[in-house]
Symmetry: D2
Amino acid sequence: MAGSSFGKIFRVTTWGESHGKALGVVIDGCPAGLPLSEDDIIPYMQRRRPGQSDFSTKRNESGVFEGRTTGTPISIMIKNSDQHSGDYSEIASCYRPGHADYTFDKKYGFRDHRGGGRSSGRETAARVAAGAVAAKLLSCLGIRCFAYTLSIGDVKAEDINMDEVFENLLYMPDNKAAKRAAALIEEAKANEDSVGGIIECRIEGVPAGLGEPVFDKLSAELAKAVMSIGAVKGFEIGEGFNAAGLKGHENNDAFIIKNGSITKETNHSGGILGGISDGSPIVFRAAVKPTASIAQPQRTVTRDGVEKNLEIKGRHDPVIVPRAVCVVECMADLVIADALLSNMSSRMEDVISFYKGE
Amino acid sequence: MAGSSFGKIFRVTTWGESHGKALGVVIDGCPAGLPLSEDDIIPYMQRRRPGQSDFSTKRNESGVFEGRTTGTPISIMIKNSDQHSGDYSEIASCYRPGHADYTFDKKYGFRDHRGGGRSSGRETAARVAAGAVAAKLLSCLGIRCFAYTLSIGDVKAEDINMDEVFENLLYMPDNKAAKRAAALIEEAKANEDSVGGIIECRIEGVPAGLGEPVFDKLSAELAKAVMSIGAVKGFEIGEGFNAAGLKGHENNDAFIIKNGSITKETNHSGGILGGISDGSPIVFRAAVKPTASIAQPQRTVTRDGVEKNLEIKGRHDPVIVPRAVCVVECMADLVIADALLSNMSSRMEDVISFYKGE
Amino acid sequence: MAGSSFGKIFRVTTWGESHGKALGVVIDGCPAGLPLSEDDIIPYMQRRRPGQSDFSTKRNESGVFEGRTTGTPISIMIKNSDQHSGDYSEIASCYRPGHADYTFDKKYGFRDHRGGGRSSGRETAARVAAGAVAAKLLSCLGIRCFAYTLSIGDVKAEDINMDEVFENLLYMPDNKAAKRAAALIEEAKANEDSVGGIIECRIEGVPAGLGEPVFDKLSAELAKAVMSIGAVKGFEIGEGFNAAGLKGHENNDAFIIKNGSITKETNHSGGILGGISDGSPIVFRAAVKPTASIAQPQRTVTRDGVEKNLEIKGRHDPVIVPRAVCVVECMADLVIADALLSNMSSRMEDVISFYKGE
Amino acid sequence: MAGSSFGKIFRVTTWGESHGKALGVVIDGCPAGLPLSEDDIIPYMQRRRPGQSDFSTKRNESGVFEGRTTGTPISIMIKNSDQHSGDYSEIASCYRPGHADYTFDKKYGFRDHRGGGRSSGRETAARVAAGAVAAKLLSCLGIRCFAYTLSIGDVKAEDINMDEVFENLLYMPDNKAAKRAAALIEEAKANEDSVGGIIECRIEGVPAGLGEPVFDKLSAELAKAVMSIGAVKGFEIGEGFNAAGLKGHENNDAFIIKNGSITKETNHSGGILGGISDGSPIVFRAAVKPTASIAQPQRTVTRDGVEKNLEIKGRHDPVIVPRAVCVVECMADLVIADALLSNMSSRMEDVISFYKGE
């Protein structure tokens, strides 16, 4: 209920705040026999935050035996090597605009004011560790979630080339746009300001038939997963908001036969029809707001209800989009892994075949 | 798991297909003592589909006694008075573009081909009945969800006047725009085509502090709820996708003191910060695709894998946005009702006060 | 949360009170393609209450198409043909000993006093309808749950012969004991008193490997399922309470090879080891208390806190054990069906085989 | 689904095997503001296993700030200081009678053979740590769960004196019986055998009105909780199995007025009527089987299907009942804490009062 868990069968539970000594995740429901080691997780942690290598599955060794998952919970702990021991007295006593300080106080009556607590971006490290395990599972089935930056502020990737995604620090599939975006970020930084952007995720290899037809549509689960990332303010799939302006004959995808198989001629649907995967690549986008922490003076109020001007000291990242790319992708990994496992009992013939080998 | 239920404490389960004799919903977890009668539900059913009055709570009488809810499940059944007894042989044998025919077949191995089954718009009648109960609960707390049409195709409401929403059949807060939109719809109809649109929902009176900080953010729950409606392809809250292009100083909302209380000067956040309600109105939008059923010929394939041209006979509604308005609003009602009930045990002081009266 | 649902994948939600016009159940998560008709359900309803035939799946027709389940929710409604229109004023104003009148008032603030509401035995009709569907599923896999009366009051079945279960009205596997038990029941009736008993359930054909190792042990799920039946006060599996007095060498079951397969020489475990089925028959027992409704005068208090003598008028059944037999069996059907569907994603090799056909 | 979590609002997730370097638990949904420190947990860990002090909440510091819970997940890790590095080759290749070796292999395809993995008694350490937090919450509301040993083998506590529970190592409320039980245990040890017993738990201070009326009866939740402990084979509440032999007039509890309040004259119900607490002490019992690990030779089979004689080397505890006492109590703590938090939204008047302060 308190919402630190995600998924039904492949179910993850995260814990830890931005300023504790560690944070982590417990993964329950990962099938037994999946080959898994730290090497599957480290690259994801590094994509989320280059230079970080301070996590540890080895220490706990739960849920993995002789290099394979055992079917029991996998616990991953990530040490918080860079806890700031700074002065939080100013933040403690007032509410930062765009942050969850005020809402945490209203919900819980008080808060751990050292950084953002559970609403900090640090929390996403646990999501990424779990997503890496889900991605490993997907890779065994030929499925891959892949996210990248579509725009930073008003700079859009236009000449899309997926090979370029890892060639720039912004994970944009357009090196030239990335250069312009980097300049925009520098400008925002100089102005003690910040910028947002749009992340796109493409999921290849998903078989048709995943997802549930009513409340738990695959598109609805993806929306929840992605909207649960701190700074995300919008989600769309396929044509998304653009579909609102299309005509039916423009938005419908014709079914055709290609190489002897049924497929769609176009993919306006974004790979999901009626909440169930249709076999085409699943394509969705997430809108990320500009970083809430900016150095320029802002108006706010104290816990005691006095208006004041706030200047948030310290180093601020003028954009979180590049780090969020991996988080978006990992949330997609979690959704697809869960949908795959949930779907195995949809047909009686499969249940009979499973248990009777017929 | 099969996804016909929604909510944690205020939990609804829907059943029934488009061509059965009835469909319905069971509401579990509604607090005891809420005054409730058919008169609370009928107006919602009529908004969803003017002229319809063929539902019945009275017949079952479960969960209500002497005009108040008893705390036990409320079962609502809606008769399907207009089941078509038409010829579905053509639809049975091929896949309609933009519909879930293909994906149902891939998931379940076969399908009830008489109309859309569970993926039909008929299913939303059960959501609306449940939403009406949730809305009654919210009204006791001074909370109101209110949805309306923001655009149809490329026609946007511009001169917003909420009083006009019920003055036109499209539920647009701009009668002039509604007139232009009506013309657009007529044109689409003449062309055997269809149009989509954008629905906005505004929730007033929500106290600060609702929602959970990590995976079950209030914004994430709303996103899932709204994206679970058949034709919805996008969701955004507050500035939404627009936030991706704003600067931090533009998107952050300053906290101020107004009438002695803490509030926000602006509402770019859309009423939710860090996944928890911030006391401002919650404002979100949903993108609705153009109706998939269009009369003009479309290319598709048969279940046997043969390409063919399909002409879907019968009456087609060239736009579903106006009927979806009420559905979007009702999903919001369900989310907020559930969040309210879930939030009561967030603080130990409240738990102690509840049980010890201190 | 309000607890009207049971199961994870094969999930049932019941609704309706003893004095409404109908009650029912919605089954979500039944695999598509299971052959199902009213004829599968009627015999169960009749076992629960001979002579009753007033239920209807046909009317709703949800979740079944052309004789097979579609994978979408199955809704079953049971008409309450014998609602008493009697005088409940005395019951309304005081608390019947052994009933839930007092506890409902304390929980909800008031109650539907016409009979037992949700705590009435009527509610179990919905469980039996759902259990019949689960039993049909199990029958496709060669699994059968079978419950019978082990004792009534102090009369025990001793010369066990399963063929005799349906030869007496008490469902005892010992016709002679059944005759003595019938006399005991008559005596209780004459004394305006009641008796209880013990029900045993035997589940044959369950493959080894079902159940989860920690909190959701198969034995724990069975315990919850059976203890959720109104009058059940105890649950035990295999040796049960007797195991507390055994030595380790007496209670352990040796593994042996029989017909080339691993099996256990004895079945003290009752078919479950470490919470997971071990391939032997699952055998458990439930203790049923004597019917709380007795005609002889009892001391109680009114809602206003005044002590009084209560004589509950009307026809009282001096024993509910025979009718509870079918309910116990149906709860077992629900648990095993759910465990079977939940278990399909336990191994990665099975997941790969399912999706890649390798 | 994989069953490593327990509870709905106060929800715990355990992880770790008997032979990993650590195990632990994440508690989600504990209300904010509960005073909590290691000193609340250590005594419970010591009761479960005297001499053990190798756990740590301090290290992680999640979910607690300045001595109070923050409402976010509490993560507790317990180091496994005594991992045996012994020779498990014999256990690895065959199935120990009475253990979960065989069933784990059948479920997962292989297992971590170093001890019992998740089915080991070590796993209960995490339950006890979580239970200690729940007990702290209960103590703020004047509620206490208290478990003790009722019998060891055929030696029963007869002259019950609760003051004596902590005066003997077996936690029996009868020092004389404890002496005889100790002799019985010594005898079993000398015979390379083991004994079981019965644990009783008494819960005082629970307000009337907790629990849900149908599937999630408070008695059913307690049954599941207790039956989920490895060696427990039976559960009963109030008169339990004895009720099956009583007459209605013997088993019903008269309601009376005492000190101006409604109460029951007797407590045959064990404190729960119709699944909802009735205000009397809740009293239940659990049957614990004799330890499965015994040194005397036993017949079993290898993984390859060859019969063999097995002698399990190493130190074996001839009785686990005393250590299970604390585990039973902690599971009760978890159930009651969850029921308390779940019950706060049962009445509309309470919801209105909570949000509108009326």
